[in-house]
């Protein structure tokens, strides 16, 4: 049951909240919004457009393959289309639709929060995503779309073999999207950690949130390897480095390792939100709680975690040593267990409940069927001999479409129907919904199942046509017919939703008697989400009638209504005890501005205007500084908090993702070194040991004044904190100046274009110097802010910058140690 407004007092409070949380209307409102629901809708409609584009690309590919020797598409166009189809569906549709649209809209509602932990960052992640998507599609409109497949293997993607700018659109576009995704992932984690309703301890958190927590952590650690691989590729292509050039000490397999360290977790990143959606829909329609709650919760996290240890099963055909492959075969087989735990839990919940097979549940049943088929064919690839036989055939295409389309998109479609009444306030048309499901289910099965057979018959993937008489024609015809049926089914979904939006009957607040908190508020939810911050005593708070009645009473009494400002409740991570009242930022132009300047940076790098790009990067930092000019108000400062502030959680996660980046760089160094018979390569002199060690030690020593500044700020001693930061800044600047000088001297001795050692040496040092430079900018910003004295916000900022420097110093020691190991 939803919270009712029963007294004049309650109405007065709601009126007040409406005034506080109101955003500008019209275009300005959408451009400056920080409301998670509006941002979720922006994500939804943007990804829907990309879904349409990816769908059209798929239909063109299938039409080309309808029969043998067809000439609808040229080989070049076919290559561009299948590459764009893959990139679009993986990077621009499934992940942003599930996390960006569903996560943004639903997660704060489900945990009883009024917004995400970092609302402006949330808006920025959307605008950056939009800009990155358009950036990638610009390549297609210019006739130079990426054409080396979604995993873009080298050496094909190197300049010598693909000189067109399509690969640059791919590499820079994905780095660009990575910025958006990383920011969003950090935001989700902090939101789940810190903004859960009082009482929602870890054992009472909705399973949907566990899925999103797992996805977000996976993103934080999966994107750095991808970004490393992409940066190496662009350095090879734009500046003549040699990371992937085997003739000069590089390795094409390095790309495959880095890509799949990202790529396989990405599969789980794609599918985990679907698990979360399934665990929301099944209890509502089975009319009972999920069975084995702890098992399902940990299974969701386990899938993401073990997913990081299976990457080399994509490389079983490259000739890895058996002893290497065994580690990955074991992990690939065992990952079935957490997946199976969830499958059994879903099925058992349905069997043990009283299921009502309405449209949302039908999509989930379809998902379960597809997941079983796609999962079973996935296990087959964990067996090394089978993998080597079926590698690069249509069997692989069948497997991942069953997983990525059947098992990931079907729950998203089910979720669209399930939460449509919450978002719009209106019901969809049930019969039309069921028709759309059956058409899509039959279409998807007809499209993807025969691919198993043609794969086993030997049809390789990524061929633009095939000869007659190979026994593939009938299956391909069926696949193409199926794809059009599928397209029709999906079109029916859109028609249903559009018509229902305007003509559907009113839904009420909780039309499905759902168990999670989002059904406690009105449909559509108000800008402040909840008039009173709910209190939770189980994982299905909507089924705890007494608690919801208590919410009504508290609304009248003004308890936890937080109506003094733009506020929400901050709670502790493990037990969700009320810890502080957080003032949330409201609408802002800064996110759009940051996205615009970043777009210029990427566009200018693409067109090789590096100096101007650097200028725009500095402009981005200026925009970020302006963004942080406004500080949360005094009410925040009055709180006595026992848990870590959101800002510190944010910096810890940033450090984690940057640490993973350095981990990839250092691992690459040793990967290249292990394969060399002499190191450094090409007769380059080993580096001098003494001076870099002394300098790195001096930089590391600045952690002491930074720690001191952090303690001084917490003790309220602003001038001492300021002085300690200045002291650290002097040493750090000296270090940076010497290192830049030394870097230039080294360049006179050997160049990054010389061989893979040179490429690695300068990239590793360059990454470290870039982090030191950002630290200097943070110091300067902090010194400027502290002139005005201390506030709670500035204390957190001092602590955050101190942590950044501890991290940068440790990384410097590791980088210097790695480089000096060549002298050992």
């Amino acid at each position: 049951m939803a919270i009712g407004v029963t007294t004049p007092e309650a109405r007065r409070r709601i009126g007040r909240l409406e005034r506080i949380w109101e955003e500008p209307s019209g275009l300005v409102g959408w451009l400056t919004t920080t409301d998670h629901k509006r941002i979720g809708l922006l994500y939804f409609f943007t990804t829907l457009l990309f879904f349409g584009a990816g769908g059209v690309e798929a239909l063109l590919l299938r039409t080309q393959l309808i029969g043998p020797d067809r000439g609808l598409l040229s080989p070049e166009t076919y290559n561009q289309l299948f590459t764009m189809h893959g990139i679009t569906m993986v990077f621009l549709v499934v992940v942003p639709m599930s996390t960006g649209a569903f996560g943004n809209y639903l997660l704060p509602l489900m945990i009883g929060a009024r917004d995400m932990a970092f609302p402006r960052m949330n808006a920025a992640s959307y605008w950056i995503f939009l800009a990155a998507g358009l950036f990638i599609y610009t390549g297609l409109f210019l006739g130079t779309a990426p054409d080396a497949g979604w995993f873009d293997y080298v050496p094909l993607a190197e300049k010598d073999f693909t000189p067109s700018a399509g690969i640059d659109f791919y590499a820079l576009g994905l780095i660009f999207i990575g910025v958006s995704t990383t920011v969003a992932a950090i935001n989700f984690i902090v939101t789940i950690f810190k903004l859960r309703a009082p009482g929602m301890s870890l054992n009472r958190m909705p399973l949907f949130c566990y899925a999103f927590l797992a996805v977000s952590f996976a993103l934080v650690f999966a994107l750095p390897p991808l970004n490393t691989a992409l940066v190496f590729l662009e350095l090879d292509r734009l500046l003549g480095f040699h990371f992937y050039d085997v003739a000069l000490g590089g390795s094409p397999l390095l790309w495959q390792h880095l890509f799949w360290i990202f790529g396989h977790p990405e599969v789980y990143i794609i599918i985990l939100p679907a698990f979360g959606i399934a665990t929301s829909i099944i209890p509502a329609f089975a009319r009972r709680r999920m069975v084995a709650y702890p098992f399902v919760a940990i299974a969701e996290v386990l899938v993401a975690f073990i997913g990081f240890g299976v990457w080399a099963h994509h490389m079983f055909a490259v000739g890895l040593a058996t002893v290497t492959a065994v580690y990955f075969a074991a992990a690939s087989l065992i990952i079935v267990i957490p997946s199976a735990i969830q499958l059994f839990a879903w099925i058992t919940t349905l069997v043990a409940g009283r299921p009502r097979f309405a449209t949302p549940l039908l999509w989930i049943v379809g998902f379960i069927i597809f997941f079983i088929v796609g999962g079973l064919s996935g296990i087959m690839f964990a067996a090394i001999p089978f993998d080597q036989q079926a590698h690069d055939t249509y069997f692989v295409v069948a497997h991942f479409h069953f997983v990525i389309f059947g098992a990931a998109m079907f729950p998203l479609l089910g979720g669209i129907y399930y939460w449509f009444p919450k978002v719009t306030g209106r019901m969809y048309y049930e019969r039309l919904g069921q028709a759309s499901f059956w058409l899509s289910f039959v279409g998807a099965t007809m499209t993807f199942f025969p691919m198993h057979i043609v794969g086993l018959l030997g049809m390789p993937r990524r061929v633009y046509t095939y000869e007659s008489g190979l026994g593939w024609s009938g299956y391909n015809l069926a696949e193409t017919i199926g794809s059009y049926l599928l397209g029709l089914g999906l079109l029916l979904v859109v028609v249903n939703l559009v018509v229902s939006r305007f003509r559907g009957r009113l839904a009420g607040d909780d039309p499905f008697a759902g168990g999670t908190l989002e059904w406690a508020t009105s449909s559509p939810p108000p800008e402040y989400n909840y008039a009173v911050i709910p209190t939770v005593t189980s994982a299905y708070p909507m089924w705890d009638r007494e608690d919801r009645l208590q919410d009504e009473r508290r609304l009248s009494e003004g308890v936890m209504t937080l109506e003094e400002g733009h506020e929400t409740a901050g709670t502790t991570v493990l037990d969700s005890d009320l810890d502080e009242i957080l003032e949330m930022p409201s609408e802002s132009w800064s996110p759009v501005l940051v996205a615009a300047t970043l777009t210029c940076v990427f566009a200018l790098v693409l067109t090789k205007h590096y100096a101007v790009a650097g200028g725009f990067l500095l402009l981005t930092f200026v925009a970020l500084a302006a963004w942080h000019w406004h500080e949360p108000g005094a009410r925040w400062a009055e709180q006595r908090r026992s848990a870590l502030p959101n800002g510190l959680w944010g910096i810890y996660l940033l450090i984690a993702t940057e640490g993973a980046l350095f981990g990839c760089l250092i691992a690459t160094y040793f990967y290249l070194r292990f394969q060399a018979t002499a190191w450094p390569l090409g007769g380059i002199e080993p580096p001098n040991v003494v001076v870099p060690l002394v300098l790195a030690g001096a930089l590391a020593a600045t952690s002491l004044p930074m720690l001191g500044s952090s303690l001084a700020a917490q003790a309220g001693r602003a001038r001492l904190a300021w002085g300690l930061i200045l002291t650290a800044l002097v040493v750090q600047t000296g270090y940076f100046a010497y290192e830049i000088h030394s870097f230039a001297n080294d360049l006179a001795g050997f160049r990054p274009e010389e061989n893979a050692y040179g490429s690695m040496y300068y990239t590793l040092l360059g990454a470290d110097h870039a982090h030191v430079f950002v630290g200097l900018l943070l110091d300067l910003w902090l010194l400027g802010r502290l002139v005005g004295g201390l506030t709670q916000y500035r204390v957190t900022a001092v602590r955050a910058v101190a942590w950044y420097w501890h991290f940068a110093n440790v990384m410097t020691l590791l980088v210097v140690g790695t480089i000096l190991s060549a002298a050992a």
């Binding site: 040593a321 290497t324 040793f670």
Partner: protein, 126 residues
Amino acid sequence: MRLRAPNLISSALLWFGVLGPPLAWAGQHVVGFGASTAGCRPFGAMHSVDPNVWALALTIAAGVVAAAALAASVVMWLATRTEDSSPPLGRMHFLATLGLILGPLFLFIILMAGLGATVLPGCVQS
């Protein structure tokens, strides 16, 4: 023995039970991959890196950690048994239950990967 309120030791045991097995496996996996990659390349020949020996050592170390973590989870699960889901004891019991799931699972992966990597011939292409 029933726990009435969390303390430093119980919290440490609890988190060791939850995080120990996955971290033990991660260590075995990453170092094992590194050792086999180094051992089967020129670097391994020059520095006498034997991937099978590394695999055995890593399997023993990781197996011991995972088994100890499982034992810690059993202790904590028994100490926090309660019908009430209220935090902190309800949450602790939940985490101990997770430890009971994680321990055997990761012990199994550690042994499965470790036995294969120890017994199979080192640097033969798969």
